[in-house]
């Protein structure tokens, strides 16, 4: 822990300090609690979690990774369309998953499978979406989760607005929103942070800095020392965290969450991680990065690290292989359900455009039905 002037001032005045005071993004300081071998680096920072919770977190990460791998496999089998894997980014999302409550909001981008699962989205819904049916975004068991947002960065503004609404309605809710390193270059990113800072909204912005925006490495994305530092410009606390360190992520989220609920406004968390998979199943990373680089980053793998910690502390008792098999069966079952979902109807194209379908749309639908009849009768 390095003290800086601001933190020192706070300490001198007996003011409470937060994790954000102790890790200055301007100095490129990074919050890390365990190393790649699972050794605890900072005992004081270690969060107070029960063994059960840690095991549960690991299992959630394992489930998410299994589901993610299977999704890629289904795509490769030609049974699902283009899919953006989260491989390597599980710790970030599961850490948030431990904290996010049913009433809290999630405004995702499109690489947030794990936290969406934590929020109650089912794999069936996930698969249904990627099989090309928007019903997959009609989350039956997940509350306050927005559908996947494809236009980069735009979800951040939505999160800010939700935050305003929460304050206005005097509710006790927090918004979790995500963006990638590439997304921080979009105007919406700056605008969202700026608004969030002015309005002091209960929003936790997470940048999943997985080093790449498709093929563009983060050093080509910005000249800033890191991404967390950008928060300072907007008067919002920012912190750079080892995204593959489950405990560090948990601590950062916990503090940001507490801050938000206390009315202290937004925070920006830069989670440093690596996109182990491709941008999507249609992308070929070998075009722009080396196997060496991938292998270097593999050493920081979030599941491996947490597993090593659990092995070292002797809390892990289960059979991982067996668990994976169980998960696979469950996930395949969900996939089959998605595959057998009711056929897409013509009506589905129209009925959600407006709350009440205007006459123009009714007519267009009717005209198409005439065409369908004609087609049928020709056979």
């Amino acid at each position: 822990m390095l003290n800086n002037i601001r933190t020192q001032k706070k300490l001198n005045n007996n003011q409470p300090t937060t994790i954000f005071d102790h890790f200055d993004p301007r100095e490129d300081e990074i919050l890390r609690i365990i190393d790649n071998e699972g050794e605890v680096l900072n005992k004081e920072l270690m969060p107070d979690l029960t063994d059960e919770t840690i095991i549960k977190a690991y299992k959630s990460m394992l489930y998410a990774r299994t589901a993610d791998n299977m999704a890629v496999s289904y795509q490769r089998q030609g049974r699902m369309y283009t899919y953006p894997p989260i491989l390597g980014q599980e710790a970030i999302q599961i850490a948030a998953g431990l904290i996010i409550r049913e009433e809290d909001w999630l405004a995702p981008a499109f690489r947030e499978l794990a936290i969406m699962l934590a929020k109650g989205v089912t794999m069936k819904e996930f698969f249904l979406y990627y099989m090309g049916n928007e019903q997959g975004s009609n989350f039956k068991t997940a509350n306050h989760v927005l559908p996947i947002c494809v236009p980069i960065g735009s979800q951040l503004l939505h999160a800010t607005g939700i935050g305003y609404s929460i304050k206005y309605q005097k509710k006790d809710e927090v918004v979790f929103t995500y963006v990638g390193d590439g997304g921080t270059s979009e105007g919406d990113f700056s605008e969202a942070l700026n608004f969030a800072g002015v309005w002091k909204v209960p929003v936790i912005f997470t940048i999943q800095n997985n080093q790449y925006a498709i093929s563009v490495p983060v050093k080509s994305q910005t000249n800033s020392v890191n991404l967390a530092v950008k928060a300072i410009a907007f008067g919002v606390p920012g912190i750079k965290v080892d995204g593959n360190d489950f405990f560090a992520m948990y601590v950062a989220y916990k503090e940001a969450f507490t801050n938000a609920r206390a009315g202290n406004g937004p925070t920006l968390i830069e989670a440093l991680t690596y996109r182990k998979g491709a941008h999507t199943t249609s992308d070929d990373p070998s075009k722009y990065r080396t196997k060496d680089e991938e292998q270097e980053w593999d050493k920081t793998d979030p599941l491996v690290r947490l597993k090593r910690y659990m092995d070292k502390t002797g809390i892990w008792k289960d059979n991982e292989e067996q668990l994976i098999e169980e998960y696979k069966l469950e996930i395949d079952k969900q996939f089959t359900e998605a595959e057998n979902f009711a056929a897409y109807k013509l009506e589905d194209i129209f009925q959600y455009m407006y709350v009440d379908m205007p006459d123009i749309l009714k007519k267009q639908k009717a005209d198409y039905e005439l065409f369908q009849n004609w087609k049928e009768n020709r056979k």
């Binding site: 299977m70 496999s73 289904y74 795509q75 490769r76 089998q77 030609g78 049974r79 369309y81 283009t82 498709i214 941008h279 999507t280 199943t281 249609s282 992308d283 070929d284 070998s286 696979k328 395949d332 595959e339």
Partner: protein
């Protein structure tokens, strides 16, 4: 049941792949998702996982072999699925066999052109002549007229339009009588549809002018009661007058023609016999007398007959009339006549004498009442003071619409003109 798993499109833009390594063997029990084989494609090397759990019954392709997307990879005995369900299963996974192949694109399934399916090279810039004008004649008509034609069961393309630019109007449709022959003058045009051998005829498309004249002439003849009077007038005096003033006019660059005098004479006569400067409006049971005296002059041009109008000729002197005639003739020949030049004529003169004709039965310029045809001045023996002398005779042919004007009126009119022409001074006396 037996399930054949074909080499699927795996999103990397390929038509085929080379087998690098088999991970399974015949008889092996496998799980869903278990890697079957390692394939090399244009872009990447990847494992292909099995979509089903079961027992491998057959393996297609050996290491090093190249197989096409859609070709069988393995055959699996699937546990526990029989009959209809089994068929359904196969159908479901048929997505893999779709023609769509992915190519690099980050998102979506991209279609790849088949190996030898080429589009012909563009013919851009090549001087390929456009096909000749279609033999199908398409008329202009408003949607309203077209709807009417449909109701009346008329092929609108066969109707001659009388509206602007030959547009087929409601009236045209109302008046359309395909079977009737007006006055037996016009034969049924069946002959025109005879098949003629190719070298017996030459085809030439109709010009706009010809189409218009053709229409107008027919319309005039079918709508009026043409009657023609033929007269001769001796104009030695007029010739003298003209000769006297010819040069003076020439100095001012004006050609003093006989036509100028005839216009003047006509206008004066029209003022006395107004019926000749009118229209009949049978629909409303009335005569429409023109208060203006706009004399149209027929001009022969290479493209055909055009009829520019000298407006308010009654207010012009003979010099001004002469000027106007020259101006309009030049414009006509240069095809520079404006629509305004051509409208509102109330009486027409046609001077075929300059070409050499003597008598004719000119066609009235509908909806005017009459048209005066002017022939060539002939040197003929005439009787003057009981002596036979050489006279200069101007032949006149006056066609009138007998619906408006009777023989007597027509005679009086042409006599008046003849009086003026034989004694030019009388034109300034009246």
């Amino acid at each position: 049941m037996r399930y054949i798993f074909n080499f699927p499109d795996i999103g990397e833009g390929l038509e085929e792949g080379t087998i690098l390594e088999w991970y399974v063997v015949k008889g092996q029990v496998i799980k869903a998702g278990q890697p079957l084989v390692n394939m090399e494609t244009d872009k990447i090397v990847t494992d292909i996982p099995s979509p089903k759990a079961g027992t491998i019954v057959a393996i297609y392709g050996s290491v090093g072999e190249t197989i096409h997307v859609g070709s069988p990879l393995v055959e699996i005995e699937i546990e526990g699925v029989f009959g209809a369900d089994a068929v359904a299963e196969v159908k479901e996974t048929g997505k893999a066999d779709s023609v769509e192949e992915e190519a690099a694109g980050v998102v979506g399934t991209m279609e790849l052109a088949e190996k030898n399916a080429y589009l012909a090279a563009s013919d851009e810039g090549s001087t390929k002549s456009k096909t000749e004008d279609k033999p199908v004649v398409k008329v202009q008509a408003t949607p309203l007229a077209r709807a009417m034609a449909k109701d009346l069961n008329i092929d609108i393309n066969k109707v001659i339009g009388s509206g602007p630019s030959g547009r087929v109007t409601k009236e045209d449709l109302e008046n359309y009588k395909p079977a009737k022959q007006p006055q037996g003058v016009i034969h049924k045009t069946e002959t025109s549809t005879q098949q003629l051998s190719a070298d017996a005829v030459t085809y030439e498309p109709l010009s706009q002018i010809r189409k218009t004249i053709s229409k107008n002439m027919l319309h005039s003849k079918q709508s009026t009661a043409h009657m023609t009077l033929f007269e001769e007038v001796e104009i030695s005096h007029l010739i003298t007058v003209r000769d006297r003033y010819k040069n003076r006019f020439a100095e001012k660059d004006i050609k003093l023609t006989y036509l100028s005098f005839i216009v003047k004479a006509t206008v004066l006569a029209l003022k006395k016999l107004r019926k000749l400067n009118s229209q009949i409006d049978l629909e409303n049971d009335r005569m429409i007398y023109n208060n203006r005296y706009n004399i149209a002059i027929a001009v022969d041009t290479p493209e055909g007959l055009v009829v520019p109008v000298i407006k308010d000729a009654d207010r012009l002197s003979i010099q001004q009339i002469a000027q106007k005639i020259t101006e309009l003739s030049d414009k006509a020949r240069d095809r520079k006549l404006s629509l305004d030049d051509m409208k509102d004529g109330t009486f027409t003169l046609t001077n075929y004498g300059s070409i050499g004709g003597i008598y004719a039965t000119p066609v009235i310029n509908y909806p005017q009442c009459a048209i005066l045809g002017i022939g060539r001045i002939l040197k003929k023996p005439v009787v003057k003071d009981n002596q036979v002398v050489v006279g200069s005779v101007l032949p006149l042919s006056l066609s009138v619409d007998h619906r408006i004007v009777d023989g007597g009126e027509a005679s009086r009119f042409i006599n008046q003109i003849m009086e003026y022409l034989s004694d030019p001074v009388s034109m300034i006396m009246d």
